[in-house]
Amino acid sequence: MPMVAGRSSPDRVDAVDVVVGAGAPAEKEAEFAAFMARSAPALARTAWLLCGDAHQAEELVQQALIKTYLAWPRARQGEPLAYARRVLANLRIDGWRRRRRELLVAPDALPDVVEGGPSAAERHAERDRLVRALLTLPARQRRIVVLRHLEGLPAQEVADTLGVSLGTVKSTASRGLARLRGVLQAPDTTTDERSGS
């Protein structure tokens, strides 16, 4: 179909005409849409581990996807998820500054668990403890621990993702894990041992 558009437009209007067939670009578009649908949950989990906040995580994933879209011709050459993860892990977490509508998610709003399993409140507390423990790690160390141990990526891939050496990944991951363990296994203030003996 021939193109029509406003060449004789008023000077403020800067109209540009393009004809788009239903061919290759639409396929690329669909390809990116499919990629977003496929990768968003995994990226969101990584983002949540990095920042400990669901809303901020969503924002980080959106930013990472925007950048991935802009670099799509390059990103799709390799493994696009790895590309998006690299962008995500290297984003400066400053989006949080833009305060968003705050939503209260009450513990009882969490999905029900099977009978006999931990209650929603217990899981909420466990989640909270994990997030707090992760937040005690310096950002650089946290990125490495999250990708290497919590996402279980090979050390070389973590090194490639963050642009650091393999040696750095190994030593930092190990130190970070030890620290995390220290924080998570720190005795509670209410241990049974004290009252028992």
Partner: protein, 378 residues
Amino acid sequence: MSPDEQFAADLRDQVTRVAPTIAVDVTRVVPAARRRRVARAGGLTLAVALAAGGGTWAATGLTPRDTALPGGAATVVVSSPSPTPSGPPATSPEGDRLVDEPGNPVDGAVVPPADWRDASYLHVVVRASGGKEGEDGPDTPLRIERWYGDGVSFEHTASGPVPANLGPYLGMEGEQPISLTWAEVAALPTEPAALHDALVGTYESTGVAQDAALLAAGRLLTDTPAPPDVRAAAWELLTSSPRVEVTAGVEDSEGREGTAATYVLFDRTTTLVYDEAGNRPLQLESAIGKMHSVDVYLTNELAQLPEAVADAVPTVPDLVAGTVDDAAVACAREELTCLAVDVPSDTVPPGAVVATEPAAGALVDRGSVVTLHVSTGP
């Protein structure tokens, strides 16, 4: 398996068990990327790039979701948003940065109430700054300006006002959601105990109810069009909580005197400085771990929407019965993109617009797509 490996494996199990399911809204990704690309390319560069063919890819970025493109029968008309020759400056008069993207974008189009231009709005101007301990210096503060309205709200961006998704007031998720309309906020009790019951009366008296009461009282004071006496009750409710530490006679970062309420809610420590005599918030400080932010309320008052703001909100023009040519020009004027789709019509002459999606009068985000249904005749 080494103890380290075992610990890491246990951690992974724990993450699988407790990680929240985060639904990422990806519908804004492609439009936002496109806007960024347009901003980067500038008008002329964009035109050249598009003409060179690389633009077909960029242009398909304009295709809205849920728009079925009949094979071969679609034409995309790209009208590039004017490269801000007469547009607003990228900073406020005080030199604060303006946001590039709306923080709370609307999903699609908003059909505003008939009297939206003449209605009252809660006008909030915030100077936000903050950062992370040990990382970089402080950036230039960010200026956030919002108009909270009844049925439609707006947010300012560097390229002008856009409709914003700021309601419902006190939106809270959960099994006992709190969701109030403008009218319901205005009708809230003006006595603290009654206000408490109105907000969280249905909650079991657990920590959750306490959390909800703190969150709701805080948001009533800063983000809702609550009348002064409702605000006074919310402030009293907040400051009477055993979890809130109150310090009188403090100054905010602008040197204005107020009373501070400090409390910990979930993972963040919040300090609200409030002007009790004027019943208005002065400053909101929050800290999560090493991250810290300060929002200074430069304005927080009920006001009329200035005509210039109303005029600058992108509005879908009435394009029905016109030609695609006219539509392209009208859309470009509103900084909208139009996409033409052929439809057969017995009543409208070939080449004329039968209908638009969204319909005329709808308020939309800058750069949004308007689909034109163009008659091909019977």
